[in-house]
């Protein structure tokens, strides 16, 4: 049965190309639809260009939302990547 799950995190670094790539690769492995929202912009987490197009920067709140059987796991994975990858401004 499809589940909805979402959680927000405050970025501690800018969301650069490399973390965007890691995030999109990870998101694509889940069957749940995963989206990222920053302010009024929303992107498909499985689209690396969409994620980069958010232009998310340090200090911004980013909401990870997922819908599907593995939604909770998908959100946890993406949050972990956001927390780690933006830390060093990779």
């Amino acid at each position: 049965m499809p589940a909805n799950y979402e959680q927000a995190i405050t970025l501690t670094g800018d969301l650069h190309a490399r973390p965007a790539g890691a995030l999109a690769v990870a998101a694509a492995k889940y069957s749940a639809a995963v989206s990222l929202t920053v302010g009024t912009s929303t992107a498909d987490a499985k689209s690396v260009l969409g994620v980069m197009g958010l232009g998310a920067t340090s200090g911004q709140d980013i909401t990870v939302a997922a819908e599907g059987p593995d939604a909770e796991e998908a959100v946890a994975t993406i949050l972990a990547i956001l927390a780690q990858a933006t830390q060093v401004g990779a």
């Binding site: 999109a24 690769v25 694509a28 492995k29 689209s47 690396v48 260009l49 232009g55």
Partner: protein, 134 residues
């Protein structure tokens, strides 16, 4: 196709440096798990394209899941089309993507790194033309 086989990518550019640079950038963004083979310049090292280089790159890029080719402009497209039209020994499946060069290879390699099949990788490359930068 084995579970580990990833779709390979070939970058066909008039410029060897452009193909190599785009390949390096896409490899870094996608995590380095996908074969991205540059085929830039002529056989003499000048600006232009080479069917021989594209052929070799396609063979190197294939690991059993097929190959998506991204051309930069004009005669790069013609060179690949001519090659695909010959009855040569190219990997299969093989697809020519109608996509922006830099965005296309980044999107395609991320899709390939995630385990996407040739249709998914081709679609990711071609959808790149709709992505906004701002």
């Amino acid at each position: 196709m084995s579970l580990d086989a990833r779709v390979g990518i070939v970058l066909v550019s008039h410029s060897a440096q452009l193909a190599e640079g785009a390949a390096a950038l896409a490899a870094q963004i996608s995590g380095g798990t996908v074969a991205i083979i540059p085929a830039g310049g002529t056989d003499e090292g000048q600006l232009g394209t080479s069917a021989t280089k594209v052929q070799r790159a396609a063979e190197l890029a294939d690991s059993g899941a097929g190959v998506v080719i991204l051309p930069d402009l004009g005669s790069a497209v013609l060179t690949v089309r001519a090659l695909l039209g010959e009855a040569g020994d190219l990997p299969t499946p093989i697809e020519l993507a109608d996509a922006p060069f830099v965005e296309g290879v980044v999107a395609a390699t991320v899709a390939a790194a995630a385990g996407g099949d040739i249709k998914a990788v081709l679609a990711a490359a071609e959808e790149a033309r709709h992505a906004r930068k701002l």
